[in-house]
């Protein structure tokens, strides 16, 4: 059957999968952002050993493929008494991986922003946590928006790897449809287009946010 | 000699050059002065075709440059090969970032003769050393540009331009980006070239230097040559009110 008809018939089955992709992406992105901020805080406040620890963590996740933590958590957690659902396992792996990259992005922003401001805040007696929360973090986050946007796109694409642990997101759905209908080209071209849509949408979202929030 | 007639150039809708007529005689030095945006740099860049232009002619020693009229009257760009040949008759030095950072000073100077003019390695090297000695930098022959001061880099750039044995030297504000104490050494090199009787067109803000080396100075405003004359005429006896204001501001 031709492309148009195939899409009309099987298109809607992508919707649930699309939902899963979106939910895991958004969830993992938020989690990774929080985790990245936590890593940044550790790096800034825990002295030399804190910084070294974060460095080691970052190096580990930068030099290993993301499939490994996904498999590790998915296979190992049930073995150690944590039979969490696949989505949670996969999401956790994505959070751990992307948190590393995000902490590096934030670190770059910290270095780029004038340290004088942070020192000024500390010297007027703001407690370290307040300084971090009210002075450092907001500026660092705003400055990092473009780079965070890039990272989010990468995370979005990484959700496709969750198909390896049987989560029915977009890529898995395409595989299933291929096996059901034999229409490999159609199934994967539609999925590719959906991903391109999601990616472009994310990029637009970040660009708009960046413009709206910038004050310099 | 160089003849420019009716040169007009626009960037999009903005007219940057409105009909320039200029003759440069053999061995003459012409300085182009004026406010930023008056078109002096654009004029320079049109002469060696770094910018295209819509109307007008540029002739070097009688040869039409850059555009030819085809038999059916259509104005056509010359081929890339021809353009390269024509460009080799001119040398240009920019304000900065002239030199190729990954080559030694000598290799920078040799590049043109060896690869564009097919001069033999031995001859090119001899030429290069001679020119570097002329600008006082033979000792730095094996150094890399990053190891040189701004003034030294500009002197090498001049040597490199001269290595092509050009008929005309185009100088685009070559001292504007230099620290003040380095300007003198570059100006000295230009002074020493006067005896070579090579045509020069220099865009400059340094009016004192222009007075010294230029045979004629052209004051440009809004894309046209408003006044043209000897340095004494232009700098001491300006007629155009715009020029008077410009001189007052700069002094």
């Amino acid at each position: 059957m031709n492309f148009g008809r195939w899409v009309a018939i099987y298109g809607p089955t992508y919707l649930t999968a699309l939902g899963w992709t979106a939910v895991t992406a958004v969830g993992a992105a938020c989690g990774a952002l929080i985790w990245g901020c936590a890593l940044l805080l550790i790096r800034l406040s825990a002295g030399r050993w804190g910084a070294r620890g974060v460095d080691a963590y970052v190096q580990l996740f930068r030099n290993t493929p993301v499939l490994l933590p996904i498999y590790l958590i998915y296979f190992a957690f049930p073995m150690i008494g944590l039979p969490w659902p696949a989505v949670v396992c996969g999401g956790l792996a994505l959070i751990l991986q992307n948190g590393a990259y995000i902490s590096e992005i934030l670190r770059g922003s910290v270095n780029a922003i004038d340290r004088v401001q942070f020192d000024a805040a500390r010297s007027i007696g703001l407690a370290p946590w307040s300084t971090f929360r009210k002075v450092v973090l907001p500026q660092v986050l705003v400055y990092s928006i473009p780079a965070l946007g890039n990272q989010t796109v990468l995370l979005l694409k990484d959700t496709s790897l969750l198909s390896a642990i049987s989560i029915t997101e977009l890529t898995m759905q395409a595989k299933l449809l291929t096996e059901q209908t034999g229409a490999a080209y159609e199934a994967f071209i539609v999925v590719a287009l959906l991903y391109l849509l999601l990616v472009s949408g994310t990029e637009v979202l970040f660009r708009v946010t960046h413009r709206a929030v910038r004050w310099r | 000699m160089i003849v420019v007639r009716g040169l007009q150039k626009s960037f999009g809708t903005a007219r940057v050059l409105r009909g320039i007529d200029l003759d440069i005689a053999d061995g003459e030095v012409v300085a182009l002065i004026g406010r930023s945006g008056c078109g002096k740099t654009t004029l320079l860049r049109c002469i060696n075709f770094l910018e295209e232009y819509e109307t007008g002619e540029i002739r070097l020693d009688g040869e039409d440059l850059w555009y030819r009229a085809t038999p059916d009257g259509v104005r056509r760009r010359v081929s890339e090969v021809e353009a390269r040949r024509m460009r080799q008759q001119m040398g240009i030095v920019f304000q900065q970032y002239n030199l190729f950072p990954h080559m030694t000073v000598l290799d920078n100077v040799l590049l043109g003769p060896r690869f564009a003019q097919r001069v033999s390695t031995a001859e090119a090297e001899a030429l290069g050393r001679r020119l570097l000695a002329r600008v006082g930098l033979e000792a730095k022959m094996s150094a890399y540009p990053a190891q040189l001061s701004g003034g030294q880099q500009q002197r090498v750039a001049i040597a490199r331009a001269l290595a092509m044995r050009p008929k005309v030297l185009l100088l685009d504000e070559i001292t504007s980006a230099l620290d003040p104490e380095l300007v003198g050494e570059v100006e000295d090199v230009i002074r020493s070239l006067l005896s070579d009787r090579i045509m020069m067109v220099l865009v400059t803000h340094a009016l004192g230097f222009a007075r010294e080396v230029a045979h004629r100075i052209a004051y440009l405003a809004e894309g046209a040559i408003v006044e043209l004359g000897s340095p004494a005429d232009i700098l001491d006896r300006p007629k155009d009110p715009g020029l008077k204001e410009f001189l007052r501001r700069v002094r």
């Binding site: 030099n63 290993t64 493929p65 490994l68 498999y71 694409k157 890529t171 | 920019f94 990053a146």
Partner: protein
Amino acid sequence: MPPGSLALLAQGAAVSLLLAAVAIVGGTLLAVLLAALAFSRFAVVRAAYRVYVYVVRGTPLLVLALLVFYAMPALDLRTGPYIAGTLVLIVYTGALLAEVFRGGVLAIPRPQWESARSLGLPPVPLFRKIVAPLVTRYTLPPYVNVCVMTVKASSVLSIISVWELTLAAREIIERTFAVFTILGLAAAFYFVMCFGIDRLGRLFERHLALKGFAGERA
């Protein structure tokens, strides 16, 4: 640790490295071609380049791999996954490197272009003596980055049955359930490869810097 698994993992690592190497070589050649297209005089060609990069970078590598794997029945089943996988990696690496090279060309300061043009340099010496050396020096760090990304990307091919380090690890785990040990070892192999490439890259950068180029950029 189950007997023989270390050797198996080592073999898998060798395959991963080989896959990455082929992808990097092929990708570099493809990228030079693509980057040339990116600067073409014809708007259509430039647009085609942008579409290519947009699609390859916007689609997950796994989807590209599955598309090629499932939708190319013309391939001999015996070597199917390997050829499909290598092709996809080359396409992927090519797109990434093309953008890197394009950035490198754009980083060359304008006066240097214009000096080269004003000297009347013909295209071949222009490329050989000016463009290639400068672009190489400007793009070395991002190029090394892409090499590391390619090694990591090779693990995705495990999902289309290309036997390499990740698939080797999975197979051992499914037999023996020694999850932590095996994945830990696999991680160690990847780490050594990726970190090693990164360090080699830095050494090479330092070597180039010693040859005088201090990185003058606009």
